[in-house]
């Protein structure tokens, strides 16, 4: 694969932060690619490094205590080492981002309209203020904000969470980006609103040819929207494959755990219960070998070495994972009752 063949290609990206407690390896060798019109989902528990990965693409994690390795290229343009001026043009222009918490992602003291206009003007020096405002209204209309023409004059606190997230989406779309990153766009929202926002993203997917990176901790969210899925655990990619491969033939025990804990509408949602026993490891001093080892019921002596991220199934060479178990063992071990899950003693969801 020659560089530039993909819309976006991330290879062996590492991000670490110097902190008081030590060096936090938030992202530890992440690689994936994104094509035009494709949706790639990055899935993992809280703290697995999804947001850091996403934000690093825009240079938003740059700070004196951060250090970077590896590369991320947008149509062959290196992002990790891009100058501030290059980044400024890429941000919002070629790569746009929607953040997790719509309640705090808009500046409280400016009107909605002027915040969208601000982005349009930042990338289009020709446009007049009033044209930009018209575009802002059209965008708000497009993402389903009713009475957009009146509501451009509202302040963020006058909007509900879902509406604010729509504003964020409108803003992200304002300069027709090539890549759209949505970092847990629905996590902070009510279930019904979540569904609406996901619908909005689905429509977008059809209407634009942008590549979309959808970050989430809930595999259920990506079930019918993603083309490919990257599963992250403690800063590393542990499995990567197409939607079908991940859902129907998952190879990594951590993925099984995620699949087992998808909150089902037909059951009581006890979303706050950690459905994979234990907690993610410290990123300052993670366990040696496979990071998942302390929580993995299937761990054995080999797991103290780091497994490589490679394909284990000859028929799907693009489906890679990081686990020492053989394909056969995996097929047996992942079966919990009538569904896929992590070990038999998984807490029963009441």
């Amino acid at each position: 694969m020659s560089p530039g063949a993909h819309l976006l290609e991330v290879s062996n990206l590492k991000v670490s932060f110097q902190t008081e407690e030590g060096v936090v390896r938030a992202v530890d060798g992440v690689s994936f690619a994104l094509e035009q019109g494709e949706v790639v989902a990055i899935v993992g528990e809280s703290g697995s490094g999804k947001s850091v990965t996403a934000m690093t693409l825009l240079g938003l994690t740059r700070s004196p205590n951060a250090s970077f390795e590896g590369s991320a290229q947008l149509e062959g343009k290196e992002l990790i080492t891009a100058s501030e001026e290059q980044l400024r043009e890429i941000r919002g222009g070629e790569i746009a981002m929607i953040f997790q918490d719509p309640m705090s992602s808009l500046d409280p003291v400016y009107r909605i309209g002027s915040q969208i206009v601000e982005q349009i003007v930042a990338h289009d020096f020709q446009v007049s203020k009033s044209e930009a405002m018209e575009r802002a209204i059209a965008l708000m209309d497009r993402v389903g904000i009713p009475r957009a023409r009146e509501r451009v004059r509202s302040y963020p606190h006058e909007f509900s969470g879902g509406m604010r997230q729509r504003v964020m989406i409108a803003m992200a779309l304002s300069c027709s980006p090539k890549v759209l990153i949505a970092d847990e766009p629905t996590t902070a929202l009510d279930v019904t609103i979540q569904a609406q926002i996901l619908d909005e993203l689905r429509t977008l997917r059809k209407e634009t040819d942008a590549g979309i990176i959808l970050v989430t901790h809930d595999l259920g969210v990506v079930a019918d929207i993603a083309d490919r899925i990257v599963v992250m655990y403690a800063g590393r990619v542990v499995e990567q494959g197409t939607l079908d491969e991940i859902f129907y033939n998952p190879q990594h025990p951590y993925t099984w755990g995620l699949l087992g804990s998808i909150t089902r509408v037909d059951r009581d949602t006890t979303g706050l219960l950690p459905s994979i026993p234990g907690t993610p490891p410290s990123l300052v001093s993670p366990p040696a070998g496979c990071h998942f080892r302390p929580r993995c019921p299937h761990a054995f002596d080999r797991c103290t070495d780091v497994p490589a991220l490679e394909a284990h199934l000859p028929e799907t060479p693009q489906h890679v994972d990081r686990c020492w178990l053989s394909a056969m063992q995996k097929r047996d071990l992942r079966q919990v009752g009538d569904r896929i899950g992590l070990a038999a003693d998984e807490p029963v969801i009441a």
Binding site: M55, L58, L60, E84, R88, E89, I90, R91, G92, G93, A96, M97, F99, D101, S104, S105, L106, D107, P108, V109, E118, Q119, A122, H123, Y155, H157, M168, M171, C175
Partner: protein
């Protein structure tokens, strides 16, 4: 917005009423001595004391005393025993001086506080930040009357760069007014500059990590735009409301030390001179009006604050 303003002003009136009661209690009831004797002053004759007792109603029940006290204050018929003049006339005469001092100093401390705070945050951790931090810590550790005395000695008496004290009315000679006020303004400002620059510094450093600032960066704004339009604009909100409150408190009597050390005949110095002569009536009136001024201005601040920050405009 209008509803908010009306509500806020109504609660202000209630607080003023409570303040009038508390002030009355502090002066007339709490002390362990005869209020007539205290109000009459050191040199009073028994007949004078008796007159005060009946004038203020100290031989009557306590609520009559309160009503009489408030009546005298509101009518402007409280007199000082030292000059035997109505207190409120004197206050009216001294007010322009206090206003000159408060407004000038307020402008200086807000401007320099913001400037130093921004510089400090911008250079956080570098030598400029450290230098400014040291300066502001020294500033907040320095009693204003000590600073005033030292300044007026070295700059006024010794170097003769600026006049060492006294007040010249703005209306009689603006340039002299300015020259005479410069040192008092500066002396009064030092503490606030120190406080403001440090608050602004930490607010800015907090705000930089706010989500909407990240959004602003992600939009592709230049660092300058992010800093000025989003970080600074939001960080200034608490500073501006603080300024209103501090300004109110300086106007309401907080400049008393500065006025006294620079011999500015303002309301504060009037209070100080009355304290020196144990002349209680002026202190009573000034204390109450001072607290009133603070309450009134903080209501104004809240209303302005609501205008600045759309979140509380309900």
């Amino acid at each position: 917005m209008a509803r908010f303003a009306v509500r806020r002003l109504a609660s202000m009136v209630a607080v003023m009423f409570a303040i009038s009661i508390l002030t009355f209690l502090l002066f007339q009831v709490l002390p362990n001595s005869d209020p007539s004797t205290r109000l009459a002053g050191r040199t009073a004759s028994p007949t004078q004391i008796a007159k005060i007792r009946s004038d203020w109603g100290f031989d009557k029940p306590i609520y009559v005393q309160y009503i009489k006290t408030m009546g005298k204050i509101l009518n402007g018929t409280v007199t000082s025993y030292q000059q035997q003049l109505p207190v409120e006339d004197q206050i009216r005469q001294d007010l322009p001086t206090t206003l000159s001092l408060a407004i000038g100093a307020g402008v200086i401390w807000l401007a320099l506080g913001i400037l130093f705070g921004v510089l400090s945050a911008w250079r956080a951790g570098r030598w400029l930040d450290r230098g400014l931090t040291v300066l502001s810590l020294v500033g907040v550790s320095m009693p204003v009357f000590f600073l005033g005395a030292v300044l007026s000695y070295y700059i006024g008496d010794k170097a003769r760069i600026l006049p060492a004290g006294d007040y010249v009315a703005l209306t009689s000679d603006p340039w002299q007014w300015f020259k005479h006020m410069l040192m008092p303004w500066f002396a009064l400002s030092v503490l606030f500059i120190g406080v403001y620059s440090r608050i602004l510094r930490s607010t800015i450093l907090d705000t930089i990590n706010d989500d909407y600032v990240r959004t602003a960066r992600a939009k592709g704004l230049s660092e300058r735009q992010v800093m000025i339009r989003h970080v600074l604009r939001n960080s200034l909100i608490p500073i501006v409301s603080l300024w209103g409150l501090d300004f109110a408190s300086v106007l309401g009597g907080g400049a008393i030390l500065t006025e006294t050390v620079f011999n500015l005949h303002g309301v504060g110095q009037y209070a100080a001179q009355s304290v020196e002569g144990l002349d209680i009536p002026p202190v009573l009136v000034i204390t109450m009006f001072g607290a009133f001024a603070v309450v009134l201005l903080s209501a104004v601040v809240d209303i302005v604050y609501a205008a600045l920050d759309p979140r509380i405009r309900l």
